[in-house]
């Protein structure tokens, strides 16, 4: 009835991992990786987010229905971003609007 109780050590480990990953993000930002800087920062952020969702938010131990809703949120987000990107891409992403006055 009381649900899955994770050991305290798991929470401290996740916290440690999140702190190390934050340090890596800052460190990587000062390296010149060319076009890879932004994808790397987003990849690390997504990994951190996954740790938070699975362990701090207990999704790993949740029902399949909850897991479905979590996955659905990502699916909806992909539709939102994907369709807006299609809109701009088909009107020419390279066509940069002139500066505002």
């Amino acid at each position: 009835m009381s649900g899955h109780v994770s050991p305290k050590s798991l929470y401290y480990s996740i916290f440690g991992a999140l702190m190390v990953l934050t340090a890596i993000t800052v460190f990587a930002a000062f390296l010149n990786l060319g076009a890879m800087n932004a994808p790397l920062a987003l990849a690390i952020a997504t990994f951190k987010a996954t740790l938070v969702v699975l362990f701090f938010m207990h999704v790993k131990y949740s029902s399949r229905l909850t897991k479905l809703v979590v996955t659905t949120s990502l699916f909806f987000l992909a539709i939102l971003l994907g369709e807006m990107m299609m809109d701009y891409a088909t009107r020419g992403l390279g066509v940069i609007p002139p500066p505002l006055q």
Binding site: I14, F56, S73, F76, L93
Partner: protein, 227 residues
């Protein structure tokens, strides 16, 4: 428990937990319904912030130099400190939920208060950062001042900066309010190992706000820091 007994007799079924609402069969079912509802709400929040992230990404692609220049005016050490504070508050929140699950009332209250304190530290640092932006005329509008050739596009960055961090801070303020109520409920002994749903739902909200910041920090503070 006398209420529950009377309730059970009236309905002709077994004695159950005081916190079980009559339209649910079991505590497990009730918790499942709350969890589902909370995640559906968080889904709407994902889309709410998603639109802002798209606006940010589009303008960043278009005006990368301006965004890089504007991003360098943000204090990276304050941003990193706040990231650590927020991750720390997620840890204390997770431990608060765990204490509630294991029926440790004083530990629950202690971890919840730690979460509130860390949340307030985050907001305090944000106030310092905002004040600095006002002082240096980095706030978009008639008083905006920039030496760079991309002054107009830099204002777009700062508009997005204030919108996204402002809405995030608003979520934090709401979160601190929710945590205060949950702390009061915990101190009054409203929760036990069979019923701690409000603590867990408040935790989901708090962790979600942490999630948003996990993306905001690199996107706003670390656009282009090398060279």
């Amino acid at each position: 428990m006398s209420n529950a007994v009377a309730h059970a007799e009236a309905h002709g079924h077994a004695v159950h937990h005081d916190a079980l609402q009559h339209h649910f069969e079991t505590m497990q079912q009730q918790k499942e319904a709350s969890t589902l509802g909370m995640w559906v709400f968080l889904l709407t929040e994902v889309l709410f912030f998603g639109g802002l992230f798209f606006a940010y990404l589009l303008y960043r692609v278009w005006y990368f130099d301006a965004f890089a220049e504007a991003s360098r005016t943000l204090d990276i050490s304050l941003g990193a400190f706040n990231t650590a504070v927020l991750i720390g508050s997620s840890l204390t929140m997770a431990l608060a939920v765990r204490s509630a699950q294991t029926n440790q009332r004083s530990a629950t209250v202690r971890w919840l208060i730690s979460t509130i304190v860390l949340g307030c530290v985050f907001l305090g640092v944000k106030v310092v950062e905002y004040a600095d932006k006002f002082e240096h005329h980095h706030v978009p509008g008639p008083h905006f001042i920039s030496e760079s050739p991309w002054a107009a596009q830099e204002q777009l960055f700062f508009s997005l900066y204030f919108t996204m961090t402002g809405l995030h801070a608003l979520h934090m303020i709401v979160g601190v309010g929710i945590m205060s109520v949950i702390t009061w409920m915990a101190a009054k002994g409203k929760f036990d190992e069979h019923y701690y749903t409000p603590v867990e739902m408040a935790g989901l909200y708090w962790h979600f706000v942490d999630l948003v910041w996990i993306y905001l920090f690199p996107l706003l503070y670390l656009v282009e820091r090398h060279n």
